[in-house]
Symmetry: C2
Subunit: 346 residues, 2 copies
């Protein structure tokens, strides 16, 4: 089923002050949870083999509740800043693409500054754009650097396991295996050369309620009784989400290539959101990109929300496959629906 939404045309980036990625970082909890662990814990009628066959996941990381989200975000930020040899006090702006923060208000990005013991009153806020949030944050960082910032630190992802671990009544067997905890970080800085060739974001409001996390006013309106499972993702129709993700990826990539004046063969590596192994493969297949030009950590990390695409990029960098000067297509798609991407020379 094709969407009825009209995807907007791409605008070329009017940027006079260029950005580049200085470093990436991550925080992943030590605690590994296997499919078997989940099956036992919740007494489910499922097998590890069936779970791996249907969505591709073997294990994921679940934080053991010793750390707040802001602690985890601070650890990812710390690694990222250390890799670039930049102190938090040098950073001009913080953007955290959150899933669930410490609180609804204030921004968990400020909590992160507290955990890092930052002495400066650095501008910091959270943004909500589900799994595509890291791309929104990158798109924003490019524009902030264009108009004056020297260093922008962006973060994405969150902890979703707490809701599962919090003695809740009903386990949603459609999503219990899907989610993992993880945070990705990226530091962008000013550059004399042009690295970012194009950026594109779109939404599809016809898919507003296909996947959602209830924790909002909708709960009060419906007079539902409050329970822990409102902290988890509800996905009523995964097939529609997947089809929409692939359709969105094709549109996004065509627009990005058009604006970058590149063809798909010019792309050295792809980092994308991989909500399942099948969706990762499906996107690449629809784009005629060999799997070797990409990586998916879904099988061992699960869906880490807006961190996914950035954790995959971090993996490409750390494994030594992605080298400076290579051309990268980074994209993401998520609930809302909201999707987008960037093409950059690393």
């Amino acid at each position: 089923m094709k969407t009825t939404i009209k995807y907007p045309p791409i605008s070329d980036l009017h940027v006079t002050r260029y950005s580049k990625i200085l470093s990436t970082g991550s925080y992943l909890p030590d605690n590994i949870v296997t499919n078997e662990d989940i099956i036992k814990r919740y007494n489910l009628i499922a097998t590890d083999r069936a779970v791996r066959y249907s969505i591709g996941i073997s294990e994921r990381r679940w934080e053991n509740k010793n750390l707040d989200v802001s602690d985890c975000v601070a650890l990812a930020a710390k690694q990222c800043l250390e890799r670039a040899n930049i102190s938090i006090e040098q950073v001009d702006r913080i953007i955290y693409s959150k899933l669930l923060g410490d609180y609804n208000v204030p921004a968990t990005a400020i909590g992160m500054l507290k955990k890092l013991n930052a002495k400066n009153g650095i501008p910091a806020f959270d943004l909500t754009a589900a799994c595509s949030g890291f791309i929104h944050a990158m798109d924003m960082a490019i524009r902030y650097i264009d108009s004056g910032d020297d260093y922008v630190l962006i973060l994405g992802g969150g902890l979703t396991s707490w809701a599962l671990a919090n003695d809740f009544n009903k386990i949603d067997t459609r999503t219990v295996f899907l989610m993992g905890d993880g945070i990705a970080a990226m530091l962008l800085g000013v550059s004399k050369e042009k690295h970012f060739l194009s950026s594109y974001i779109q939404t599809d409001n016809t898919h507003y309620e296909v996947g959602y996390m209830p924790l909002g006013l909708s709960l009060l309106n419906s007079k539902e009784s409050l329970s822990s499972d409102m902290f988890g993702m509800k996905i009523d129709n995964g097939r529609i989400l997947n089809e929409n993700a692939i359709e969105s990826a094709v549109v996004t990539v065509n627009r990005l290539l058009e604006s970058s004046k590149l063809t798909i063969d010019d792309i050295d590596f792809v980092a994308t959101s991989d909500q399942t192994t099948q969706l990762w493969e499906g996107q690449l297949k629809a784009l005629n990109i060999p799997l070797e030009k990409s990586v998916s950590l879904f099988h061992k990390q699960g869906n880490t929300a807006s961190a996914m695409s950035a954790l995959n990029l971090d993996e490409l960098i750390n494994s030594g496959r992605l080298k400076r000067g290579m051309t990268v297509l980074m994209m993401a798609h998520g609930a809302g629906a909201s999707g987008g991407g960037v093409i950059f020379k690393y």
Copy 2:
């Protein structure tokens, strides 16, 4: 008590493509709730006179649960767009500074597009920066227009009354009179002349937990039982928040004037966040600005979160006091703490 945070210096705006405010708009529910209504409803030991004396409020608007937040945001957007004679399909980007959305994920900004029946897949996301969120969104819109957007629609505020109205066990008597429902909208467009002279945002992480809305992972961690009052603001020490708001306002305004090369006498009007009548007066007094150069709707609308400063600006425009060409200082401060402002020629 002065904060120990070091407020960052201001950077001049490196903007080559200028922005201007094309129009503003608002949505306020019809339903007026007086202090007496609240006293009766919750059987409180208080008087209208004492409430008015202590915080300055007489009444506020509470949505009667017939509309979702996204409906209310759509109504504010509609008024704003109609005033500028621009259709939603012409808008390049939507930013909603939310308090509580329809859901935690996806962005309520996308829900708004659905309610407006938008046919285009316009980029849209929510941001979280408490009561200062509208300033963050304006700061962002200026940069998006600089780098290519023609029209950016920003929205702020939300519904807080639902939590109060939802049969909850414990009424927080410190905050029950404070909050009101309301949404503000602003459309920014590209301009040949420079309107925005300066923009400044800062945070104070030493005040991270002075005022907060629990609805986040902190709830699960603390093993608190879930209840409706987690949808409301918790303010443990209003005095500290007020002192911090005034300190932040003075720093923000000094930085903005410095970057704009103006003095306080050059400012024709001030639109600020007014969490109480006393805080509105306190900010202006500390800045040596006569009350006549500003307006506060707190007495009849209460704290509408990030909508406050923008609703006050909308009032200055609609009352005919603020005319094109005049110089405006717009600022806001909120939980987190997070504050900032802009100076612009309207």
